[in-house]
Symmetry: C2
Subunit: 150 residues, 2 copies
Amino acid sequence: MVKKSLQHAAAELYAAATAFIRIYQFRDRDQALRFGLTVVQAYTLDILLTAGGVGLTGLAQALRLDKSTTSRVVSGMTRRGLVEWSRPEHDRRAKEILASREGKRRYVRLRRAIVEDNARLLASYSPAARQAAITILWQLAARAAGSSQS
Amino acid sequence: MVKKSLQHAAAELYAAATAFIRIYQFRDRDQALRFGLTVVQAYTLDILLTAGGVGLTGLAQALRLDKSTTSRVVSGMTRRGLVEWSRPEHDRRAKEILASREGKRRYVRLRRAIVEDNARLLASYSPAARQAAITILWQLAARAAGSSQS
DNA sequence: ATTGATTAGTTGTCATTAGCAACTATCTTA
DNA sequence: TAAGATAGTTGCTAATGACAACTAATCAAT
C-alpha cells in the first residue's frame, strides 16, 4: 500500500499547502498595504535589494512577468519614488534599476513586521520544531523549483 | 539567548515561506492556465465545490475580494460556463452560485495534476517525513489564521 | 400595513496587472 | 557596414481590484 499512502499524502499536501499559501498571501498583502506597497512592489524591492542593480529583462524573469508589464511596474515605482534607474555606460539601451532609499526603507519595515508576526507564530514551538518547520519549507521549495524548471 | 534564536528563526521562516509560496504559486498558476482556468477561478471553484451553493457576499468574503470584483468574476465564469446560479425562493435578491459540470471537471483535473506534482515531490520522503511536512503546514496555517483574524 | 433601515447584487469609474505584438534605439557580429 | 540580436517602450485588449453610488428585495418597528 505504499503507492496509496503516497497518493494520500500528496492530496493532503495539496490541501495543506493551499491553506498555508492563502493565509500567508493575505497576511503579507495586508502588511504590504500598510506600508504603502503592493505585493508586486514588495517582491520587486526584495529582488533589487538581494541582487543589487538589475536590468529590466532580468527583473522580468525574476518576477515571472512580461517585459512590458515589468516596464510599467518600474514606471509606477519610479513615479512613487520607490526605485531609481540609470543607463549603464557599457550599454545605453539598458536600465540599471536600484531600490531608492525610500523603497528600501519601506521594504525593510515590511519585512520586520512580517518577521514579528512569524516570531509570534513560532514562539510556542521548541527550537528544534522551529528548525524543522523551516527546513521542510526550504526543502519543499527546492524540490518544487527543481521539478518545475521551465 | 532564547529571544535571539526566536528572532533568527522568524527571519528564516520569512525567507523559507516566501520562497515556498512563490514557487508554488507559479506552479499552480501554470497548471491552472493549462486547464483553462485563472488562479481566482480555480480558487472560486474550490470554494464552490467545498461549500455547495454560496451567495455572492459569502463568496466575496471567502475570496477576500470586494463584492463588485466578485460579481464580475462570477459574470465571467458564467459566460465561460464554469458556474451557474439561480435565485433562491426565500430571497429573490440573492444568488445561489454553483460550479457547473464543466467547471467541476476542470477543477478536478487541475487538482489531480497538482496532486501528481506533489506525489513526485514527496516520493523520496519517508512516510513519517511526509506526515511531518503536512502537519507543519497545517499548523502554521492554523496559527497564522488565528493571529490575523480581522 | 406602511415606512425606514438593512442587505444582496450590479454598475460606473479609475488604476493596476497582464500578455501579445509592434515599435525604436542600441549593440554585435559576420 | 549591413544584418541580426537585444533592451525597453508603447498600443491594444482583457481581467483584477477597490470605492462609491445605485436598484431591488427583505426585515423591523411602529
